[in-house]
Structures are given as C-alpha cells and as structure tokens.
Symmetry: C2
Subunit: 296 residues, 2 copies
C-alpha cells in the first residue's frame, strides 16, 4: 500500500472511532456537545492518533487495543486548539479553513467545550482502565495514564510560555523549551503509548522516543515555515499570522533558509532511527518525510 | 471535639496537603504556577475534600489514604472557579474576598491556570494509581477515577447550562438540572469517594449518596440566598450579583422565604440519614447544619 493510501486509511479509522463518542441526544447542554463535536470533527490531520496506531503496528496488528488512547489524545489535542485560538490567547478566527470554535459558537461555549474535551480524554482512559482485567495489561496502561497527564501538563506550560513571550526577543533555549513542551511532549507521548501498549522492549522504546522527539521538532519548524510561505487556502490559516503577532519562531530566529536546513537535518536523523526497524517501519519513515514536505 | 474545631483541623490538614503540590521552582512557566497556587490557596471552605475525609472516617481512621483524592477534587473545584469567573462566563472580579484569577494575573493566564488545575487533578490520581499495588485497592480506585471523570463532565455541562440560560426564565426542572450537574455531582462524588475508599457496603453507599444529594442541593440554595442577603465583607462576593446578571436561582424562582423553607426541609432530610449512622456521623450531621447556617 502506498503512503498516502495508508495515511488515508488510518484517518478514516480514527474518524470512525471518534464518531462513536459523539453525543447527539436532546439535553440542556446539547449546544455544548455540538461545539465539542464541531472542533473534534473539523478535519485535522489526525497525526497524533496515527502515531499511536502506526507505532503499535511496528510490533502488533490488533490496533483496536490502542483506540481509546488514540481517541483520548485527539480529544486533548482539540481541547488545546480551542483554548489556543481564544481571543485572550492567540485570537485566531480560522482553523483548518473553518471558523474557530469561539467564532462559530461563542467564547463561553468555547472555553467550556475545551474543558469538556480535556476531561473527555480522561473519561475515555478511565473507561478503558475499568475494562482491563489482565494485571500486566493494566500495569502498562497505568504507566500510560501517568505519562499522558504529565505530557498534557507540559503542553499547557508550553502554551503559557509561548503566549507570555509573544512579541519579545527570546533566547534559542527558550524557543526550544516552548516547542519541546507545547508540541513535542504530546507527539512523544503518542509514539510511546503505541510502543508501550505493544510491549516493546526498553531499547526500542528509547529509539522510538528519540524518533518522536525529532519529528516533533520537525513538525514545529515546518509549522513556522508554513506560517511564512504556506498557501492560505491550503493551510486554512492566514499567512504571516505568527509574524504579525510577534511570535518568536524558528523562522524569525534563524531565517527561512536556515530553518529549512535544520528541518532537513532532523528529518534525516529521524529516518536514521526508523531504518533500524527495517521494512515494517516504512510508514514511520514516510511520515517523517510527510511532516517535512506537507503543505498544511 | 466541637464541630468548629474539627472543621478547622480538617481545613489545616488539607491546606498542608495541598502545599505539597505547589511548584516553586524557577522555570519559564513560573507565573502560570503562581497563578494556579493563587487560586488553590485562596482560602476556600475546603468543603469538597472535607467531605471525602469525613465520610471515610465513618468507617476507617487512616485518612491519609484519601488524600490524593481530596487534593484532586480541590484542584478540579478551583479549576471550575477560575473558568466560571472569566469575563466570557460570569465576569466576576472577586472571589473569597480576593481578586479573581484573571484580575490578579490576566485572562490568558487564568484560562491556562484553570486547564492546568483540571489536568493536575488527574496527575495526582494517576500517581496514586501507579503506586497502588494491591489489586482490590486498585479496583476501587479505578472505579473512583471513572466516577471522578464523569462527575467533572456533569459539572462542565451544568456550568454551560447555567451560563446559557442567564437572563432567561427557566422551568423548575431546568433549575434543578443545572444545580444537580453544576454543584451536586461533584459533592456527591466526594462522599462516594470517601465511602468507596473505606470499603463501605452497597446499602451504606446508597444512603450516603442520598445524603450527598441533599446537602448538594442545600449548598446551592444557600448560595442563592447568600447572593441576596449575605454580607459582602464576609462572603467576599458582591450582594445582588446573581440578580444583576439575571441568573435564575432558587430565590428568583421561589422567593426568599420559600427558598429558606426548602433549605430547612432538605437539611432535615439529610440529617435523618446521618442519624442512621449513629454517633460517629455527628460531624456529617453538623456539616449539613453548617451548610444551611453558614454566612459565606
């Protein structure tokens, strides 16, 4: 199967899984539920859940075991997008080419929809833990729940630092700290969840964690590049958005050309790691290339 | 020990426990951490964690076993206060006689501090689960984690409905739905957590759940009454706040006198239940009276 077909297949599997969690009932909070659904089903790349599933598939085939964690991470990711877009934070009007949550609904609904999605992620994990009877399976999942909560903590800290230093000159250490926390920790979590669920050994877990760190950084640098030279119609976000807000990015810090060569370099590093896993890691290799070459 | 002394003793125990979770280190997100600490240590009544501990003490003495859940629930409660107070939701400037989080810091910090406290609650639970080796203890705690996430879900829904129907006439069913979800579910969770952790039997759990439902409703009605005739210097909130915002409350729905008589009635019902537990339930009896008679 070629990469694009496989990617699409994963995306469809995840969309189908997410749909199972949508609440359509008539209840006084139905608009809040619609607001959560609006963002959750707004058609993101599903990179995070795909990382969980694809890493798991390096070792095992029965990916349905990962689904609660794939769903939970996508819910939490969407919580962070809704809150990041709020007027008090990034004040963005568009996301994935659609109105942001607070523009489509209103600000109070968006705040509570974000809260709801974060909490929903934990609801999904708690259900899965409650249904796991095998003690060694449970142990793995308790470790994952703990890593999950710690990664979300880092994501919130990264978002804070990103907001706090908007419009200010920051050192390269601060830029790295922001990205590592805001984006990197969650992507790393995805890969580690897939690997841990598949009972991978310590050495492989270490290697895959390093792969995740590389693609996490690559993802952020590419985002910074797209914010300067992306096609607004494709990215769904206005070009020059970061610059206008005085965001410190890899492009504002190092210039466009240097940012691109850093991106090339770390993508190569990531692929060096997947090569150690042979043919079965082809999708993860292609995913690293895709992160570098994507246009949205 | 008299009630006030025992209440104070519990409050001190909880404050000491919460302090263990405060992060004072120098890091780029230190102001976010201060903001979380500001709200968490702003001197609330600590009713929720006290309910966990006092219910546990009906059956067992080693209350330190409950502490992670007492801490987690207080963190989540404070998350909800910070977000409720935001300009887009209740737009309140004072809480416990101090500036609200977004007034003391700023709006983006308050949003992220709320997110952080919600997530912190789950971090604390995940740590405790990871450290629980006894399988039957673990089973109880997995049930609690699940109930916890469901109660928070209901709290967020209740807050949404409360905000959505501000300034509108609503039916008594809607008023009850709002309060049951916004306040009731979390208070019920506290009592149930204490009871489940203490291995109480199904019948007692049912009775205590009913007690929690009664005091949850009493708590909300009293809040509504205090918003009309409370002493601003004591409550720390402006009198007439709810009325000004067109909030539908027990007072606006039934009038002050009728609200007071409902409060008397359900407090009596709550005490009927604690009486079944004999002398050891004296604190819970007094707590029901305290909820009815409090002036803040």
């Amino acid at each position: 199967m070629d990469f694009k077909t496989e990617l699409k297949k994963y995306q469809i599997q995840i969309e189908e899984e997410l749909e199972k969690y949508i609440r359509n009932g008539a209840c006084p909070e139905r608009i809040l539920n619609s607001s959560m659904e609006y963002s959750l089903m707004a058609g993101g790349k599903r990179l995070r859940p795909i990382l969980v599933l694809a890493t798991y598939k390096l070792f095992k085939e029965d990916i349905e075991k990962c689904m609660p964690y794939a769903v939970a991470i996508e819910m939490v990711h969407n919580f962070s997008l809704i809150h990041d877009d709020l007027p008090a934070i990034d004040n963005d009007n568009f996301r994935h080419g659609k109105l942001t949550n607070h523009k489509k609904f209103n600000e109070s609904t968006a705040i509570l929809a974000g809260d709801g999605l974060l909490n929903n992620g934990y609801m999904v994990i708690s259900e899965d833990l409650l249904n796991t009877k095998n003690p060694s399976e449970l142990n793995k999942k308790l470790k994952i729940f703990n890593e999950f909560s710690l990664a979300v903590d880092r994501m919130i800290a990264g978002e804070y630092v990103d907001t706090e230093y908007e419009g200010k000159q920051i050192s390269s250490e601060y830029l790295e700290y922001t990205h590592k926390n805001k984006t990197g920790e969650l992507l790393k979590l995805c890969v580690r969840m897939g690997a841990i669920l598949a009972d991978c050994n310590e050495k492989d877990l270490e290697k895959l964690t390093e792969y995740a760190e590389k693609i996490g950084l690559a993802f952020q640098i590419k985002d910074d590049i797209l914010s300067v030279e992306g096609n607004e119609l494709i990215t769904g976000k206005p070009v020059g958005n970061d610059e206008q807000k005085g965001k410190c990015t890899y492009v504002s810090k190092y210039g466009l050309e240097k940012a691109k060569s850093i991106l090339e370099e770390i993508t190569k590093d990531a692929i060096k790691i997947t090569n150690d896993f042979g043919e079965k890691a082809e999708f993860l290799t292609n995913l690293a290339e895709y992160i570098k070459d994507r246009n949205k």
